[in-house]
Symmetry: C2
Subunit: 406 residues, 2 copies
Amino acid sequence: MKKLIVQKYGGSSVANPEKIKNVAKRVVRYKKKGNDLVVVVSALGDTTDELIELASQISAEPPEREMDMLLSTGEQISVALLAMAIHELGYEAISLTGSQVGIITDTVHTRARIVKIEANKIHQELKKGKVVIVAGFQGMTPDKDITTLGRGGSDLTAVALAKTLEANECEIYTDVEGIFTTDPRIEPKARKIDEITYDEMLEMASLGAQVMQARSIEVAKKFDVPIQVRSSFSENCGTMIIKEVKNMEDVAVTGITLNKSESKITICNVPDKPGIAAKIFNQLAQGGINVDMIVQNVSHTRQTDISFTVPKVDSQKAIKLTQRAAQEIGELEVLEDLDIARVSIVGVGMKTHSGVAAGMFETLAKEKINIEMISTSEISISCIIKKKFAETAVKSLHEKFDLAKR
Amino acid sequence: MKKLIVQKYGGSSVANPEKIKNVAKRVVRYKKKGNDLVVVVSALGDTTDELIELASQISAEPPEREMDMLLSTGEQISVALLAMAIHELGYEAISLTGSQVGIITDTVHTRARIVKIEANKIHQELKKGKVVIVAGFQGMTPDKDITTLGRGGSDLTAVALAKTLEANECEIYTDVEGIFTTDPRIEPKARKIDEITYDEMLEMASLGAQVMQARSIEVAKKFDVPIQVRSSFSENCGTMIIKEVKNMEDVAVTGITLNKSESKITICNVPDKPGIAAKIFNQLAQGGINVDMIVQNVSHTRQTDISFTVPKVDSQKAIKLTQRAAQEIGELEVLEDLDIARVSIVGVGMKTHSGVAAGMFETLAKEKINIEMISTSEISISCIIKKKFAETAVKSLHEKFDLAKR
């Protein structure tokens, strides 16, 4: 049966002419089987960073409309080159910018949202037998200004196109084989996961797994677009991200994530009365700081400590804002700890399996790892520990929850 | 009085962030005087060459549509960066691609012709007080495919915009001060010409002066758009290219050009009968060879030599095609001479001044320079000489026709 397949290739998959030719070969293999192919491409390797560097030499705060004008050239170069490479193999291909496709977005430059996608042009070209190559990460406003979609934008282009075109498959090609139970660089026994739910993937993405941005998974979940994450450098199957996993309840824990790019801030001896937390976190929000985990214990002494984590890059600014708030509240002490890591276990199965949290804490205790903060969601449990224990924690939890076995 | 000024900056004027900032300063100076500014920009320095190199690593003959998709990114990068640089100086600017302006072309990719330009968008943005930055060298087909205009395309964009917008001035910024009586690297006494006619400029362009391509001058002439060619690195006035020059008849010769990139091919003892020349030059035309000067003497022996010049890059191919034709005509000998130069004098004044040709030949004779071929147009005379005499010829002719003096 003839299928319509949307494939997305990331920057590392098209980093140079040699890799572009390899992508072309893969595309042609699918085409030869009689499928219709729509291929979304990111900018070549470091192109985007180079363009940002160029802009920074001209302006510290370039207008965002012009930034989009600049950055969108990266993907335009990729699509043209990939179309050439496919032609070179004797197949017809046509490259299209986001504007040419008709990917209409709102007017929020550098992080625009897709409003709608016109499918006509793509269908026309598919009907002519052509492989359609679409520039990822970009669209245009109704006024024809070029916009970009922000981080993970090319994935989003692919997922939105798969939905609009009612594609049979949506494949996200990257430089890893799929989603792993944990980072294989830390735990060599880490296993590629065959199937994972949107919710688990969302949780893993927000907890530090870097394969896909949360945003495109949210869209995939909303419209129930099944995604396969797989490697452009191998023939192996990747990981299917889907709504419901078969035998989902058999496993309590699907994966383990590690995030070492946060720091912890603590305000000591906060008066335990209403409005204090609001005061602190309003300050931080107004400063544009994205606070992550927040822990406050109910106190029996009318005083309590409040701890929270922020991305390390925002740490300096966050400390200053927190100190200002602490000053206003009453000369409270503010502590900073850069030396932390967050280890999280994720799994929809933990909804129905009891004792998962206890198992996690026990395992860390056995390794003599002190837990500094705990935070839980419906399908995840996160612990903040000293950074030096991070790898040990991941390995022992991987062992504890039997993740190496299918 | 408020003026609408179209300025065009070439690749060397925007080769790096520093130069782009300088262009921005110049633009802002004009803007501050209350003028409306439309600025056409080429790709940064070597960008176009780098993109061509990238494509060549993928395909020896990339599809021209995709080549246009690729190359048009060069100017898109420039316009975004220039708009940023103008913002940085506190002025409003908006960059537009050829497609966004509405520069509609035919569908002949890589050398498209402009069919029409929609002026609405530009007028709208000018009315908002913005400097409008337009990507040169590019347009789009009625089907929204991106096209490029071929060599000298950015000049053409500027001239066509000046015509469409009924601009008061059209300035072409480059890395030289204007059009010179001859190449100042050869003759240091060469003088910048204040005014030159379209016809003279066309002749000089086709005879080897490299400042502007003949194509945009033809369009300027057709629509009577006065152009000023000037340097982006100085404040001096440049050269006005206009319809008629004041006191035009005072000077016989306006400039001297030198072209050392041709070679001469001679077919010996060609039978002096109808249809022979046609046979030879048909072969060459079918091979895509651009033959330049052709000289054939009427013969009194029923045999004659035919000589012509071709660009050196085409020489190999031209020789082969000529030999084939010579074989068919009757085993004629074909000679090649790579060691030639063409020296030309140009001036509308020579229509009304007698003795200009004689003066040229006399001057060369005095320097003991043998003339191998002569060819004349209404406003130019060209001589092919041995390459080693080229500089001497230019200098002595510059002296003879008093070009150093105004």
